[in-house]
């Protein structure tokens, strides 16, 4: 049911119909150039600049982690020693995991992209606590320095999971690495608190919860997990440090402690953390699939609720990492059951995205290519999770390459593909300029082919029995390992190409204009790059975030499908709570 007809001016319709395409120009003042000077960046409280600073920091660590991965794959070309010792190899896979998880993927979407787009999408001038936002970046930098310090001073070879008693007895800079993780946790908590309050308090007038873009829902669900789960990781890391430094004995069997308790503590955070990583990715996909196919999102409400559902159930499934650890059969059974429950909401999302494509007007620009890649790889990642949730099958597959392949399909095939899609989608908004579409397609093809070559192979390796974290292996696994390594080079090449055209576009790209995709969320109603204070006046909603059935806009002109019938409602479901009947949007200047 349409709520109001008032905002539909009669004037724009006739004049705007024969849309005159004005050549887009860069705005004179925007957040990148005003205020000017290095100090204005160091002390900035602008969420867009902080998002950008996060982006550069995480991309640096993504590069380092990626180089480690390529070195590992190179060593694994042959079972014999290629160029590093077993101990070096152990350090590299530990650092690859720790860097990618704690320094890249957890902050990647929420802190970098989320920081940039969340206030824009809800029509706010900034996040609720801009200084806390800046503090979270500096805390991130301090935490990452501890991690770097530990790399320089002897490295860590415990695996990114820091399992006791190995981590409390081995050499290396375990304490500075875990202290780094402890500090990074605070950065994550700060971002989470900020986002929760922002979503609750700073939405534009008229934007109810069920009119929010799904990206906002996803970031909101993520923030809840960040705030509730991360403290447990902090406590666990402190206990580990105390154990190592003072020998308090809580995880030490020789002193009556329990090493398996550590695993419970660790996964109590780290399983929900998996959803800190993937939920925002799902949010991006919900935006992209609707915007790039100019089609109302299918099943807005189920997608929104499934984000919350995933967030809640994610706290109850940690024990599925420990089916072989010796926990009781009863706990294993309960955890297995709950694990299947958490799979259902993810499945619902995938079906809804699939249905969104139906009767759309689908563009194959780079963001959509990554969205389709996500649909392909994340589906594989999700389905292979079923194997690992089934108790008896997991006993066979646990700690093999099957698990490695599974979480790379979810984390890289899911989160990173969504992240790349998001970068390509919001890139023109961030910089005001467009990257080269041709090279974007080439890079996406390399990433797609390389990724699947690298990791699909590892499913077979794993189910054939190849254990993970092995420096060397039996000859029978060599062909698959070799194939996987070659795939990783293709994947790496894709990223190199991407880095080149993206960096090139910052100065030389075509000027993008306000809304190159014709998308309907609020960030596309302001200039690109956005003004320092985002919106010149409080935005007013005149169309829904996904009303592609009745609104078209290029940022300058808005065309409504049928102005006179709007008030009668072309509302198909009639529930009026998902942005259907609600019109929103654009500020009049």
């Amino acid at each position: 049911m349409s709520i109001y007809t008032e905002p539909i001016r009669q004037t724009p319709a006739p004049t705007a119909r024969p849309t005159v395409r004005v050549k887009p120009v860069m705005p004179e003042h925007h957040y990148l150039n005003s205020p000017k000077g290095i100090m204005s960046w160091i002390y900035t409280v602008d969420h867009k600049r902080i998002g950008l600073m996060y982006f550069f920091a995480i991309m640096m660590f993504f590069t380092i982690g990626g180089i480690f991965a390529l070195l590992l794959r190179t060593e694994l070309l042959h079972p014999e020693r290629d160029f590093m010792t077993a101990r070096t190899y152990n350090q590299f896979f530990t650092l690859h995991g720790a860097i990618m998880v704690f320094l890249f993927i957890i902050p990647s979407i929420p802190a970098a992209l989320g920081n940039f787009v969340l206030p824009l999408m809800i029509g706010a001038k900034d996040v609720a606590f801009p200084k806390l936002n800046l503090a979270s970046w500096y805390v991130y930098v301090v935490g990452s320095l501890f991690a770097v310090f530990s790399i320089v001073t002897g490295g860590v070879e415990t695996g990114w999971t820091f399992y006791t008693p190995y981590s409390t007895t081995t050499n290396g800079s375990v304490i500075s690495m875990t202290l780094g993780v402890f500090i990074l946790g605070f950065s994550s908590i700060f971002t989470g608190i900020n986002f929760i309050v922002t979503v609750h308090k700073l939405r534009a007038p008229g934007m109810t919860f069920f009119k929010m873009p799904l990206m906002v829902w996803a970031l909101y669900a993520t923030a809840i997990i960040q705030v509730l789960a991360t403290p447990v990781l902090g406590i666990t890391m402190v206990l580990l440090i105390l154990e190592r430094a003072l020998g308090i004995g809580i995880f030490d069997p020789a002193m009556g402690g329990d090493p398996v308790l550590y695993q419970h503590f660790f996964w109590f955070y780290s399983h929900p953390a998996v959803y800190i990583m993937i939920l925002p990715g799902m949010g991006i996909i919900s935006e992209l699939i609707s915007a790039m196919s100019h089609k109302k999102i299918f099943g807005y409400t189920p997608i929104a609720y499934s984000s919350l559902g995933i967030a809640l159930i994610s706290f109850l499934v940690w024990g599925h990492h420990m089916f072989t650890s010796g926990q009781s059969e009863l706990s294993a059974t309960i955890f297995s059951f709950l694990t299947f429950l958490v799979g259902i909401p993810s499945g619902i999302k995938v079906f809804n995205w699939m249905a969104t494509l139906y009767k759309g007007s689908i563009s194959f620009a780079a963001p959509m290519l990554y969205t389709l890649t996500f649909m392909f790889t994340f589906t594989i990642g999700g389905l292979t999770g079923i194997f690992l949730g089934a108790l008896s099958v997991d006993i066979h597959l646990h700690d093999t390459y099957f698990v490695v392949a599974h979480f790379h399909y979810v984390m890289m095939g899911g989160t990173v593909m969504a992240f790349l899609g998001g970068i390509h989608y919001w890139w023109p908004k961030i910089w005001g300029r467009m990257y080269d579409e041709f090279w974007a397609k080439i890079a996406c093809a390399f990433v797609f082919v390389g990724f699947n070559m690298t990791f699909f192979t590892q499913f077979i390796l794993g189910s054939k029995g190849m254990p993970r974290r092995y420096y060397s292996y039996l000859d029978q696994y060599q062909p698959l390992h070799g194939f996987s390594s070659i795939g990783s080079y293709i994947l790496g090449l894709g990223f190199v190409v991407m880095a080149v055209y993206l960096i090139h576009s910052i100065r030389n790209g075509k000027i993008a204009g306000k809304n190159p995709w014709g998308a309907l969320t609020l960030e596309w109603t302001i200039s690109s790059p956005p003004p320092t204070h985002n919106f010149d006046e409080t935005p007013k909603l005149i169309y829904g975030a996904y009303d592609y059935d009745r609104v078209m806009t290029d940022g300058e002109n808005i065309t409504f499908k049928d102005v006179t019938t709007v008030s009668n409602g072309d509302d198909h479901n009639g529930n009026g709570h998902n942005g259907n009947g609600s019109k929103r949007a654009k500020i009049e200047n």
């Binding site: 010792t85 190899y89 152990n90 059974t333 499945g347 995938v350 759309g360 389905l383 008896s392 039996l474």
Partner: protein, 337 residues
């Protein structure tokens, strides 16, 4: 039972393998179906509804109760089925038959030790009779390890200060690979020094490293008669040969060779060349003569007096070596000049 394995699965060599594989392939084919559905339908829509020319208004369709109900309920029923199936076979694999043969397993960095009923033992080679259920009672002396035989579809973590149980029945004779699947580290830096110091060890193959990645061995499934013969010969080991020769056998079979060389090259532990009677510097600054009692103490309580420059990483052999075997090792040491 499939002795050759399939594209995804290794050969089946235990009574529970077929059931695990059955569930694996059930999920596999269901997954392929769903994958083709999602990718096929998405790809079809993407092609049919590709944008041609300028963007246009699209359909406002955003709900379909029947469809949404279907794609929620069918997957839920399927995963519930998978849960029940996986749970059932998990329980079967958890409860050992009453008459199972009992073997004690000890995981240590980086080898497996097995103690059989009647006092026999072996290292890195588990010998079991075919067609009889075997229950392993496992523990670790240092960090967490995990006992994994892919062909049996069996895995169980091995934790210090705690017993974990695992049982299997292997119907056919054969030799099956055993892995450690809980990460447990690798050689210490001293061995890297060896590699640099040892000029000949240029070839990667000769580069001896020890760690998680090669903490493995084999499970030998033999006939009952061969199994009994093995127990007997294991008990009789050392009979009819000189103490020195027996000591040399133990040097290799008990994994002393992992860390101690006999040719003077460095390793994780001091070389045995000329060790007997040598004056050793201890890490606390004192020195001690490597006589019979010191060597015996170092085998049973390795942490008591660690030679300076080495880490305290040797596992204890308490309960794993009989007195006669320790005598034999000392006798062998005396011969390495």
């Amino acid at each position: 039972m499939n002795p050759n394995g399939t594209l995804f699965m290794p050969p089946q060599a235990s009574t529970s393998a077929a059931d695990v594989d059955g569930l694996f392939y059930f999920i596999y084919y269901a997954s392929i179906l769903f994958f083709l559905l999602v990718v096929g339908v998405s790809g079809y829509f993407a092609y049919v509804y590709r944008r041609q020319g300028a963007p246009k208004f699209t359909s406002g369709i955003a709900h379909n109760v029947q469809l949404e109900f279907t794609w929620t309920v069918i997957p839920t029923m399927l995963v519930f089925l998978v849960f029940v199936w996986g749970f059932g076979s998990y329980l079967n694999n958890s409860v050992a038959p009453k008459d199972a043969l009992q073997i004690k397993v000890t995981g240590q960095k980086w080898f497996w030790a097995f103690d059989y009923p009647g006092g026999s033992n072996s290292v890195d080679t588990l010998v079991v009779p075919a067609g009889k259920p075997v229950q392993l009672t496992m523990s670790s002396t240092d960090v967490i390890h995990s006992f994994y035989v892919p062909d049996f579809r069996m895995k169980q973590d091995v934790v210090p200060n705690r017993y974990s149980l695992l049982w299997f029945e292997a119907p056919n004779e054969g030799v099956y690979t055993l892995f450690c699947t809980e990460y447990c580290g690798a050689v210490t830096d001293t061995t890297e020094a060896t590699w640099k110091a040892d000029g000949q060890a240029k070839s990667a193959n000769k580069f001896k490293q020890k760690g998680h990645f090669n903490m493995g061995g084999v499970v030998k499934v033999v006939s009952t008669r061969q199994y009994e013969a093995f127990l007997e010969s294991s008990n009789k080991m050392g009979e009819g040969i000189s103490l020195e020769v027996y000591g040399e056998q133990l040097y290799n079979s008990k994994q002393c060779a992992t860390c101690h060389s006999v040719n003077g090259s460095a390793g994780n532990g001091p070389t045995w060349k000329g060790i007997y009677g040598r004056q050793e510097k201890i890490s606390d600054g004192t020195s001690v003569k490597a006589d019979d009692n010191y060597i015996r103490e170092s085998i049973l309580e390795p942490g008591a007096k660690v030679v300076a420059g080495y880490q305290n990483i040797m596992p204890t052999y308490q309960g794993q070596l009989k007195d006669k075997q320790i005598d034999a090792i000392i006798a062998y040491m005396k011969t390495i000049k």
